[in-house]
């Protein structure tokens, strides 16, 4: 996410809007945005409705054993079609902003 923030201007120049989604309630996301200086949209799914619907649930993986979202990234075009998706096998391995920018360049 830090990588996305660092490249936010590049994403916007390509017409890509980054949006972060987690189980964190809005006030926690607001706090994170303020502290970390993120100025892209954060959405909250505390009831895991969307996370569950898209099979992104990582059960009992939260700090006190609560359900959270697994890391996953989707580049969705205006017609709602997924143009690129990434599902890491290791929580320490995430796609780089450069990789996502390269895909975004091919979307018209």
């Amino acid at each position: 996410m830090r990588g996305i923030q660092e490249q936010l201007k590049e994403f916007q120049a390509l017409g890509v809007r980054p949006v972060a989604i987690s189980v964190d309630p809005p006030e926690v996301s607001a706090n994170l945005r303020r502290k970390a200086g993120y100025n892209f949209t954060f959405l909250s799914d505390p009831n895991l409705d969307v996370i569950r619907r898209y099979d992104l649930l990582h059960a009992a993986a939260g700090p006190d054993g609560h359900d959270i979202s697994r890391p996953a990234e989707f580049l969705v075009d205006r017609s709602g079609v997924v143009r690129w998706a990434n599902f890491t096998e290791d929580i320490r391995v995430r796609p780089r902003a450069q990789e996502m920018l390269a895909v975004a360049r091919n979307i018209r």
Binding site: L14, G15, V16, R17, P18, V19, I21, S22, V23, D24, P26, V28, S29, A30, L32, R33, T41, L43, S44, D45, V50, I51, R53, Y54, D55, L56, L57, A59, G62, P63, I68, S69, R70, P71, A72, E73, F74, L75, V76, D77, R78, G80, V81, V82, R83, W84, A85, F87, T88, D90, I91, R92, V93, P95, R96, E99, M100, A104, I107, R108
Partner: protein
């Protein structure tokens, strides 16, 4: 010649123990490579490097230890070799645990794949304002309309 009479200072340095220690420490250091935010394919190899390097270190330590115990008159390192091997073993156990822990991400067979449609959803943003996927494509204040949305699902800030 009675080898047992060779003074300790004249026995051979047990180099396998030193290299084993060095490689184990190197294995620990590979955990910090994540801070460099490596790109693929290195990023995908990194967990395996984290696991295998301390394994090689431990292997060398065991070789060194075997030498120290089988030929105590020739090689040094019975005591400190044992201590180092136990430490290396503990480090390797820690690395295996970390490896398993960070790779316990479940599969997402039911997730939308490339070419499939991401169905509409509505979730509150950080100001508790309900926001739908289609609203994310709405034109911003400067009139530009995004051609794509990058949805980043993450584990949470806690």
């Amino acid at each position: 010649m009675n080898t047992a009479t060779i003074p300790a200072t004249q026995r051979l340095t047990n180099s396998a123990l030193w290299y084993g220690l060095l490689i184990t420490l190197l294995g620990m250091a590979t955990q910090f490579l994540y801070f460099l935010r490596p790109s693929p394919p290195i990023s995908h190899l990194l967990p395996w490097i984290n696991l295998s390097v301390p394994g090689i270190g431990l292997f060398l330590l065991v070789i060194g230890l075997a030498r120290a115990f089988r030929q105590p008159a020739v090689y040094r390192g019975k005591i400190w070799g044992s201590v180092l091997t136990v430490i290396a073993l503990l480090l390797l156990v820690g690395n295996v645990f970390l490896f398993r822990q960070t790779r316990s991400v479940p599969g997402s067979a039911g997730a939308p794949q490339v070419g499939q449609r991401f169905s509409e959803f509505t979730l509150p943003d950080s100001t508790a304002q309900p926001t739908s996927l289609s609203q994310l494509f709405a034109a911003s204040a400067d009139g530009s309309q995004p051609k794509a949305v990058l949805l980043v699902f993450y584990r949470g800030y806690w």
